[in-house]
C-alpha cells in the first residue's frame, strides 16, 4: 500500500546517465563567482580613485 503510494507520488524520473546538468550548474556557479569577485574589487576601485 504505502509502497504503491510512494510510487505514484514520486514522478519516476529516470535520470539519464549522460545528463550534464550538474556540469551546467557548476559552470554557472563558477561564472557567478567570477562576476561577484570582480564587481567587489571594482567597487573598491570606485571608492578609492
Amino acid at each position: 500500500m504505502a509502497k504503491a503510494e510512494l510510487k505514484t507520488n514520486k514522478k519516476t524520473e529516470i535520470e539519464d546517465s549522460s545528463s550534464l546538468k550538474g556540469t551546467l550548474a557548476s559552470v554557472f556557479f563558477l561564472g557567478i563567482f567570477l562576476v561577484v569577485t570582480w564587481v567587489s574589487v571594482y567597487f573598491l576601485f570606485l571608492d578609492r580613485f
Partner: protein
C-alpha cells in the same frame, strides 16, 4: 605497426633522464621552501635573519628556485617522460640532446645560485634593470634557457618521428600537448634571451654604461606571461588527459582539449603589457589591445573547467550517482593521485578570479605591486600547478624507478595535500586581504615610520607566518614522499595513466597539427600586438640608466 613503438612503460633509459630532472626540482623545492618560511617569519616582525643575511637575497633565492628552477626542471622531466610513453622511446640522438640540455640547465642554475649566495645578484627572480647583477648570474640564466631549448628539441624530435611514421593520424594527446607547451616556451624565451644577450650581459660586463629600462622590461614581460602558462599547461595535461584515467572515467573530448591548448598558444604571448599597465612610456591604446587579448584566455580556461566538470559528472553518473551534485561524492577521494591535483583544480577558481581582476586596467591600480599579487600566484603556481606536479610525482616517480606507491604513502600524500591547502588558505588569503589594504609585495618587515596604515597590515603578516609554517610542514612531507618513492618504496609496477576519449570515433581534425598555420597566427598576433608600441618605446626612449646595487656586500 609503426605506432607499436608506444609502450605502456617508459623506457628505463628515458626514465633516468626524467628522474635526473626531478632530483634537481625537489632539491630546489627543499631550499626554496626554507627561504619561503624565512620570508614569512621576517615579515611577521617577530624574527630577524642572522649572520647578515639579507631579506632580498633570500627572496631572490626563493623566486629563482621556486619560480624558475623547480618548475622548468619538473616540466621538462615530465614532458620528456610523457612523450616517451605516448609517442615512443626517444632515439639515442634525442636522448643525448636531452642529457646535454639537462646539464646545461644544471650548470646554469649553479652559476646563478653561486652569484646570489655571494651577494652579487640580489635582483629578485625577474632581474629587472636597472638593478644590476654580476654577469655570471645573467650567463647562468642564459644557460638555463638554452638548456631548456635542447630539452625541448629532444621532445620535438620524437614527436616528429611519430608524425612521420603515422602519416595522416593525429598524434597522441599527451605528446601533442607537451609539444604545444614546448613550442610556446621556445617562442616566449626569445624575449628574455634577447634582453639578457643584447642588454643585460653587455651592460654587466661593462661594455656599455647604460641600459634602456623599458625595453628590457617589455622584453621580460613578453616572456613573463607565457612563462606562467608554461607552468600551467603541464598541469592541464594532467587534468585533461591523465586524471580521467585515474578516476576510471573518460576524456570528455579529445578535440576540445587540443583546441584549448592551441588557444593558449595563440593568446599567451601577445599580452605582456598587462604586467606593465602602470608603466609610463607605453601608449594606452596598445595596453588596451593587449588587455583584450588577455581576456581571450578566459575562453580556453572556461572550456577546461567545463570539460573537467563534465568528465567528473559522467564518471559519477556511470557509478549510479544521481541528483545535481551526487557525482561529486563518488569521486575517488582516497586516491592521492586524484585528490591532490583536485585540490589544485579547485584552487584555480579563486586564482583565476584574481587573475581577471589583475588584468583589468582600473583594478590593476588597486592591486599593483601589492602583496595581493603574491597571494595570487601562490594560488596559481604554488597551489594549482605545484599540487598537480605533486600528484604526478606520486605515480610517475615509482613508475620510473620500478617501485610502488604504498597505502601508507598514499595516505601521507593525501595529508600532504590538505596540509598545503590549509597553509595556503592562511598565507594566500592573508596576502590577498593585506594587498587590498595597500600592503606592498617584495618588502621586508617595516613599520614605514610608524604609519597607521602599515600598522593595519601586521596582523595579516602574522597570519602569513602561520600559513608559511604550515606550508613548510607540507614541503617536508612532500620531500619524505619523494625520497621514499625514489629510493625506498617496495619494488613493483606503478601505472603511467593515459586517458582515453569518451568517443573513440571522434578523430581530432588534422588541422590541429598544422604547425605552419598555428605558428603563423602566433607570429602575426605577436607582431600585431608588439611592433608599433615597441618601435615607439625605442624611438622615444629616455636616456639609459646606469646600474644600481641596492644591497650590501658580505
Amino acid at each position: 605497426m609503426s605506432s607499436q613503438t608506444t609502450k605502456l612503460k617508459v623506457d628505463p633509459r628515458d626514465g633516468k633522464l626524467a628522474m635526473a630532472h626531478f632530483y634537481v626540482a625537489f632539491i630546489a623545492l627543499a631550499l626554496g621552501g626554507l627561504m619561503g618560511l624565512l620570508q614569512t617569519l621576517v615579515r611577521s616582525g617577530k624574527f630577524e635573519l642572522p649572520w647578515g643575511i639579507d631579506y632580498y637575497q633570500v627572496l631572490t633565492v626563493h623566486g629563482v628556485l621556486m619560480g624558475l628552477v623547480l618548475t622548468t626542471f619538473f616540466i621538462m622531466g615530465f614532458q620528456y617522460a610523457a612523450i616517451s610513453r605516448t609517442a615512443g622511446t626517444h632515439s639515442p640522438a634525442a636522448r643525448r640532446i636531452g642529457w646535454i640540455g639537462f646539464w646545461v640547465m644544471t650548470i646554469g642554475t649553479i652559476m646563478a645560485a653561486t652569484m646570489v649566495l655571494l651577494k652579487e645578484a640580489s635582483v629578485l627572480y625577474t632581474f629587472y634593470a636597472p638593478l644590476k647583477a654580476h654577469w655570471i648570474f645573467y650567463l647562468g640564466m642564459t644557460f638555463v634557457v638554452v638548456g631548456s631549448w635542447l630539452d625541448g628539441a629532444a621532445q620535438i624530435m620524437t614527436y616528429a618521428r611519430w608524425r612521420k611514421e603515422n602519416p595522416g593520424k593525429p598524434s597522441p594527446l599527451l605528446s601533442f600537448m607537451a609539444i604545444i607547451n614546448t613550442v610556446m616556451w621556445i617562442v616566449a624565451t626569445l624575449g628574455v634571451a634577447s634582453t639578457v644577450l643584447f642588454q643585460l650581459l653587455p651592460w654587466s660586463l661593462g661594455l656599455v654604461d647604460t641600459v634602456d629600462v623599458l625595453v628590457s622590461r617589455t622584453l621580460f614581460w613578453y616572456f613573463g606571461h607565457p612563462l606562467v602558462y608554461f607552468w600551467l599547461l603541464p598541469a592541464y595535461m594532467c587534468w585533461y588527459a591523465i586524471i580521467p584515467k585515474i578516476i576510471g572515467g573518460k576524456i570528455f573530448s579529445d578535440s576540445l582539449a587540443r583546441l584549448s591548448f592551441i588557444l593558449f598558444l595563440l593568446f599567451s604571448i601577445p599580452v605582456g603589457f598587462h604586467h606593465q599597465l602602470t608603466e609610463p612610456g607605453i601608449d594606452p591604446a596598445w595596453k588596451f589591445l593587449q588587455v583584450v587579448l588577455t581576456f581571450m584566455v578566459i575562453i580556453p580556461s572556461l572550456m577546461t573547467a567545463f570539460s573537467l566538470f563534465a568528465t567528473f559528472e559522467r564518471y559519477g553518473r556511470s557509478k549510479g550517482a544521481t541528483g545535481l551534485f551526487g557525482w561529486f561524492k563518488v569521486l575517488p577521494w582516497k586516491d592521492a593521485r586524484f585528490t591532490v591535483p583536485f585540490i589544485g583544480m579547485a584552487s584555480f577558481i579563486p586564482a583565476g578570479a584574481g587573475g581577471i581582476i589583475n588584468a583589468s586596467n582600473q583594478m590593476n591600480q588597486v592591486v599593483h605591486n601589492t602583496i595581493w599579487v603574491t597571494g595570487h600566484f601562490h594560488l596559481t603556481a604554488a597551489t594549482s600547478v605545484v599540487l598537480t606536479f605533486f600528484g604526478i610525482t606520486f605515480w610517475l616517480v615509482p613508475h620510473l624507478t620500478g617501485r610502488k606507491l604504498t597505502k601508507a604513502m598514499n595516505k601521507l600524500a593525501i595529508i600532504q595535500g590538505w596540509v598545503w591547502f590549509i597553509g595556503m588558505a592562511f598565507m594566500s588569503g592573508a596576502m590577498h586581504f593585506q594587498g587590498l589594504l595597500g600592503g606592498p609585495r617584495r618588502s621586508a618587515f617595516s613599520t614605514y615610520g610608524d604609519s597607521a596604515q602599515a600598522a593595519e597590515w601586521i596582523p595579516y603578516q602574522i597570519a602569513q607566518a602561520v600559513g608559511g609554517s604550515i606550508l613548510f610542514l607540507g614541503i617536508i612531507l612532500m620531500l619524505i614522499i619523494f625520497v621514499n618513492l625514489a629510493f625506498f618504496a617496495p619494488k613493483g609496477e606503478e601505472e603511467f595513466p593515459v586517458g582515453e576519449a569518451e568517443n573513440l570515433e571522434e578523430k581530432a581534425p588534422m588541422i590541429f597539427e598544422n604547425w605552419k598555420l598555428w605558428l603563423g597566427i602566433t607570429a602575426l598576433l605577436i607582431l600585431f600586438a608588439y611592433t608599433i608600441p615597441f618601435i615607439d618605446i625605442i624611438q622615444n626612449a629616455p636616456p639609459g640608466s646606469p646600474g644600481f646595487k641596492t644591497w650590501g656586500s658580505w
